[in-house]
Symmetry: C2
Subunit: 194 residues, 2 copies
Amino acid sequence: MAKLNSTACTLLGFLHDRPMTGWDLAETVQLTIGNFWNMSRSQVYRELKTLEAGGYVVGGDRGARDKRHYTITEDGRVAFKDWISKEPGQEIARFPMLITVWFGDHLDQDDLGFSLGIHYQRHKKKLEFMQNVMDETDDQSTPAARALRFGYFYEKAVVDWFETLPWFGGEESSGDEPGEKRPSQPRKPSDFKA
Amino acid sequence: MAKLNSTACTLLGFLHDRPMTGWDLAETVQLTIGNFWNMSRSQVYRELKTLEAGGYVVGGDRGARDKRHYTITEDGRVAFKDWISKEPGQEIARFPMLITVWFGDHLDQDDLGFSLGIHYQRHKKKLEFMQNVMDETDDQSTPAARALRFGYFYEKAVVDWFETLPWFGGEESSGDEPGEKRPSQPRKPSDFKA
DNA sequence: CTGGGCATGTAACTCGTTACATGATTAG
DNA sequence: CTAATCATGTAACGAGTTACATGCCCAG
């Protein structure tokens, strides 16, 4: 019985609902917890193999394109319960944009503002999306609703933070304004795909 | 000239200030950008080797406990500038506590509340800390101040989110209250080390 | 002058990412 | 009916983590 990592255990969690293929799982994870839980497609396939080897899931017959549906076993349910009952660890994050900000003195200020603008727009879109998700959720007291609500708070914080930056209307009391007087606008709209 | 990854390039950024040992770098990174940029000590040592092999830094003489100070070279400065000028990627994150929330139906609600309480306290402490950092920063328009300010907004969002949860006073309109009527309190204070 | 903790680094392993292969399905 | 795209999976590599080794330094 190999020791399972958090990626594998998360998959077990989703397999409680219904048997799924690796593809299904990757999609589902992305669309639900993807905001606060990174997982790549290849990881899913690898962990499914580990899970099968340990008897935590059973793979069905291979269908078209070799696809297989995996079903959780009783051992799988037990292993999941053990794992989810443990104290969760601290979060880990890598936010490249903040590195760009941190080392901002090395950059041309207009370029920096442009670059940040792209991310600002992206996060505004995401905030709007999260807002909609929240608004459309009737029951705010389900586990899923609670976790998704975090996404809203997070995106709100990011957007609010952007708006403290001088390129987007913040830091008004400061003497040193960035290169352009006007807040930078997108140079071409195609840059702004969410 | 090996291709450098973002971990290595970040180190180059810090080596602009002064020559440092691996230990120094790990500490510095942790204390400054650690909130939004995870990096383990071992990574630092490995990337320093890569950097030296590529001529981006030069290691000084070995001192006590084999320690070496690494100095950035001109090639290193160029490589850093190239890297920092590129469009930053999207953030990645793993927030185990939100997984716990997401799968909350699998848990006893009191246990869940207790577990979340630990993190709530931790983040309240961190928020307080970030607030102090901000308050003590005279010039809010430096790159470092801007990036650190993000930490404040982030922790604020986390704490606000916690307070939407029924264990900490939120979701009042909902019918289904968790097991205990009173918000859960720490069972033992030693659980609450930040 | 010694023993415990801290500073420093290395090695081995696991996890995460990138690149690829290929068979279905669908649009024109 | 053919090209394009999508669904599905694998393999190889690079990044991140854990465990360890060891010498220095300071409290007693």
